[in-house]
């Protein structure tokens, strides 16, 4: 049977390299073709998993422990599908967005390709060292993308991001080294039973280091300092990729570590602590988002806040009944998907508004409701998911998380989620309200190419449809 797993990694590597050689003009076409192929491959892999459970592929025919294994379960498939689904419309968008910046575009296609290759590889990796390699590649490609437009601001943000990402993967690597020292293996499959059988104190240290590193890379409060300038300062398509996907890669890894590898040594206290940091992110991020005067910074802080919801998953799924844990776990993953789709749409919509008005301040978008109704509609639809209102993927996720919190008697997370939801409504409507005001006399709206509007609408609609068809995602998730 044809196996899509290696091709999911090879395809972006190939088109990224070709795009680098052939220049930006063909790069766009290569990216489109490559991503359509990858989407088909991811869908195929998902079908295979639904039909036959977890899949393993030995690269070059050499299985672990000698060779490298690729493995995919329901969660991997969900993440792979999300990655390709978000990236494909963004490719069309980026092509229109960068029309006047050929220089940026030269590096944009290859870097995007390497970024996607690294992410796909991360979701398919079966051992902790390979994961480290993909993390580094992912981090470097992402830093490059932040700097792709040039200029002092983006370069500074990129350097800060570089520092955070290197520190994060450094901590992770240290943890991997400690694990290897104790157990003599880096394979997830081999390590899991070993850790369950016997855990010396140093393993807890390794776990803490690996988790801390990933929290830094996920920009969990209070490690979020690098995210707003990097995501807010990058060109819109890059912001969309970073906010929607890249931080989810390190979160995916936290899920793997917490629920698979280190499941025997996780504690309710640690889970509550993670939840508390998540709550801090929800509240602090939302408050700061509300205080921003610039569109992209508002959306970037919204990401900080939305990441907080993901971390509520840990207290809701640790030390509770299996039923509650399942509901929390499903809600958390659904939130990853919903936020990915909606945040990509939101950043791209904001980018289109900025392109049309030529201004980044929130004050500058007065009149957008009349001049760019489609883009504002897109922003509002994405906002529905961000606010967690029905019928959207964000709402379905929130419903599951709230249900888990109430069923396990942890009412304080209910308060956090509800207050966070209201705060997010406040910052989303801050933008919408301004857009409904009449345009200023001096305002000069540039007409937008269609590709800056329609692909983004598709992303926002997808985040809404998720609210009606979330069951499909969950059945894929459960197929592991």
């Amino acid at each position: 049977m044809f196996d899509p797993m290696p091709w999911l990694i090879l395809s972006p590597l190939i088109w990224a390299t070709l795009a680098f050689v052939h220049g930006p003009g063909r790069g766009a076409r290569l990216a489109v073709a490559g991503l359509i192929l990858q989407l088909a491959l991811a869908a195929m892999l998902a079908q295979q998993i639904v039909a036959g459970g977890v899949r393993v592929y030995a690269v070059g025919g050499w299985g672990a422990p000698l060779g490298i294994d690729l493995t995919a379960d329901g969660l991997s498939a969900v993440m792979l599908l999300l990655t390709q689904t978000v990236a494909l419309p963004l490719v069309f968008y980026a092509r229109a967005y960068f029309t006047d910046h050929a220089n940026s575009l030269r590096y944009f296609w290859p870097l995007t390709g390497y970024l996607l290759a690294a992410m796909n590889a991360l979701f398919l990796s079966a051992d902790v060292f390979n994961i480290y390699v993909t993390l580094e590649l992912l981090g470097l490609a992402a830093v490059g993308l932040v700097a792709v437009a040039g200029g002092a601001g983006p370069i500074t943000a990129a350097m800060r991001y570089l520092l955070a990402t290197l520190l994060g993967s450094g901590a992770y690597l240290l943890g991997v080294a400690l694990l290897y020292g104790v157990y003599g293996s880096v394979s997830l499959a081999a390590l899991t039973p070993l850790i369950a059988a016997d855990t010396p104190a140093v393993v807890s240290l390794a776990a803490a280091l690996m988790l801390l590193g990933m929290m830094l890379k996920t920009a969990l409060f209070p490690f979020h300092f690098w995210l707003p300038p990097a995501h807010g300062g990058a060109p819109a398509p890059v912001s969309a990729l970073l906010s929607a996907l890249v931080i989810k890669a390190s979160f995916y890894l936290i899920l793997r570590l917490w629920f698979d590898l280190f499941a025997p040594i996780t504690s309710v206290t640690a889970a509550q602590l993670l939840g508390a940091l998540g709550a801090g992110a929800v509240l602090w991020g939302s408050l700061l988002a509300l205080r921003q005067t610039h569109l992209k910074m508002l959306v970037a802080y919204s990401t900080v806040a939305q990441l907080g919801y993901l971390f509520l998953l840990f207290p809701l799924a640790t030390g509770v009944s299996a039923e509650v844990a399942a509901s929390a776990w499903q809600g958390g993953v659904l939130q990853v998907v919903a936020h990915g789709l909606a945040k990509a749409a939101m950043f791209a919509a904001v980018g289109a508004m900025i392109t049309a008005t030529g201004r980044d301040e929130i004050l500058g978008i007065a009149g957008v409701a009349a001049r760019l109704p489609l883009t504002l509609f897109t922003f509002a639809l994405a906002g529905v998911t961000i606010m967690g209102l029905p019928p959207s993927g964000g709402f379905a996720a929130k419903w599951l998380l709230l249900g888990a919190a109430l069923a396990s008697g942890q009412w304080w997370w209910v308060v956090v989620m509800v207050v966070g939801g209201l705060l997010s409504a406040a910052y989303v409507f801050k933008v919408l309200r301004q857009a409904f005001l009449p345009a200023e006399e001096a305002a000069n709206f540039k007409p937008l190419p269609r590709m800056l509007e329609w692909p983004v609408l598709l992303l926002a609609l997808a985040s809404l449809v998720l609210g009606l068809g979330g069951g499909e995602v969950l059945s894929l998730l459960g197929a592991a």
């Binding site: 109704p373 029905p390 709402f395 209201l422």
Partner: protein, 503 residues
């Protein structure tokens, strides 16, 4: 999918699809936009008439879609749903006619009619929701689709009203969400069922069920404008007149009241709610709202503001009715769902005509308007008399049954509330009528936009809807005993809530 499953979806689609299409139409395609609107509104009415016949003959119209395991989106056309759906569809049809006339020449009409249709879609979704989750989904959609209508004028006052509106409704929505999720985690899917579903839970849940009831009522009370959650309503009347008309008669306020009916009757069950001692606080809250709203209405000079406070008072009759234990009061409350709708929409239609034709916004400017606009003022008079509760108009029927119910439940003080309210209704409506009919006009109209010619006082599109609803106000009162009257329909519903009672 069978026809009986498709029909509820068709009721939704007949306003959703025209709404979505209208968004994409260019501003100047006036005719095409009106065509889509009217075709949608007519189609919705036809489908509903067909379903009404079916429901009488015992047909079941249920659509079910599983969103997540253990979480279904359910549309169910039971008798109570049909009552509200019919009201919404009929009044949407009239309001659309009125709005086409009213919005002529004003900017952003595509946006206006688009959201108008979405708002109606959300209302019929609320009406046909078969479980609490579905109800919540459409309840929130209603908030989102009405916000752009409230801020439609885009001026500072409208923006401010919009902000307050969101603050109240999203806050209320959050409480409703917590209550709903909590109930689901206790009792699984909470389907609306006659007599309620929660009585089956053991006595150890009593405390939790009381807290949940409080959360649900607080969440619903915001839209139903129960005092002290009513602050948004008087501000929201800055919206264009057709929006106010629909907001006050069917869409937002009614959705809240309808939700209270559902929660008391079909989630908790009247008898179970009574055994938990939950109904008495609700009765008190409704009574306070009735008196408070009327008192505030007395002191408003702005016509729409006076009507807005009157709505706060009148909608609480519905809550009052369902909160008094006994079939008579339930009948009075539920029939007021329809009666208040047709009376209040008449009044708002007329207020809009006064403003559009002569620039009259204040009651102090209404001297002699009856002679200049006899038809409009006649319709306004019927609506106002109905509100006061003069026999044989619609409002009298509601109050009669509410009074009977209060006696039946041995709560004579409720009669006092009803009497006081009627007196106050008279006190704030009769001076308006006196000015309109009997005070001579001494000065020019504030802003005469449409001059009188050939005896036509206002555009036909504006004039016909209030005349129709005023006629309806008379007819539903006069023929309350006939088989197809709202009263008779409501009696059938009450019979299914109180199992030992026959109408």
């Amino acid at each position: 999918m069978s026809l009986n499953e498709t029909l509820p979806l068709l009721v939704l689609a007949s306003s959703l699809l025209p709404g979505l299409i209208i968004f994409t139409l260019p501003e100047e395609r006036h005719g095409l936009r009106s065509l889509f609107n009217m075709v949608g509104a007519t189609l919705k009415l036809l489908v509903i008439v067909y379903m009404l016949r079916g429901v009488i003959h015992g047909e079941e119209y249920v659509f079910r879609h599983t969103i997540l395991p253990g979480l279904d989106l359910v549309f169910k056309a039971d008798a109570l749903a049909m009552l509200f759906v019919t009201l919404s569809a009929a009044l949407w049809f009239l309001t659309t006619l009125y709005a086409i006339g009213y919005m002529e020449g004003s900017p952003h009409r595509s946006r206006f009619f688009g959201f108008f249709s979405l708002c109606v879609t959300a209302t019929v979704g609320v009406a046909m929701a078969g479980n609490l989750f579905t109800f919540f989904v459409f309840y929130e959609l209603l908030t989102l689709s009405t916000y752009p209508l409230v801020v439609h004028r885009g001026n500072e006052q409208a923006m401010r009203a919009g902000q307050v509106y969101l603050l109240y409704t999203l806050g209320g929505g959050a409480l409703l969400l917590i209550g709903t999720v909590w109930l689901y985690s206790l009792a699984g899917q909470v389907e609306f069922t006659h007599g309620g579903v929660l009585a089956a839970l053991g006595p150890e849940y009593t405390g939790q069920l009381r807290v949940i009831f409080f959360l649900l009522i607080a969440g619903l009370g915001v839209k139903a404008a129960l005092v002290p959650l009513h602050g948004w309503l008087p501000l929201a009347m800055v919206a264009p007149a057709p929006v106010s008309a629909l907001l006050h008669a069917v869409a937002v306020v009614k959705a809240g009241a309808f939700g209270i009916v559902r929660v008391v009757n079909d989630v908790y069950g009247v008898e179970f709610a009574q055994s938990l001692h939950l109904l008495m606080p609700l009765t008190v809250m409704a009574s306070v709202t009735i008196i408070w709203g009327s008192l505030r209405a007395l002191f408003q000079d702005d016509l729409k503001r006076r009507l807005a406070y009157s709505t706060i008072s009148q909608v609480s009759y519905i809550t009052l009715g369902v909160s008094i234990f006994g079939p008579m009061a339930t009948i009075g409350g539920m029939v007021h769902l329809v009666h208040q709708g047709i009376m209040k929409i008449t009044l708002f239609f007329c207020a809009g005509i006064y403003a559009e034709t002569l620039g009259i916004h204040k009651i102090s400017e209404m001297d002699g308007v009856g002679r200049r606009m006899p038809w409009t003022t006649a319709a306004f008079t019927v609506g106002a008399f109905g509100m006061i509760g003069l026999p044989p108009l619609a409002g009298f029927i509601s109050k009669w049954y509410l009074g009977l119910g209060a006696l039946e439940a041995q709560m004579p003080w409720v009669i006092a509330v009803l009497l006081a309210s009627s007196l106050l209704n008279a006190a704030y409506f009769l001076p308006v009528l006196y000015r309109a009919w009997f005070q001579p006009r001494t000065e020019a109209w504030p802003e005469e936009l449409i001059p009188m010619h050939n005896g036509r006082e206002a555009a036909w599109l504006l004039l016909v809807p209030p005349l129709v609803t005023a006629a309806a106000t008379v007819l539903v009162g006069l023929f309350a005993a006939s088989a197809m009257s709202p009263l008779n329909w409501v009696k059938l519903i009450a019979a299914s809530e109180y199992l030992n009672w026959m109408p």
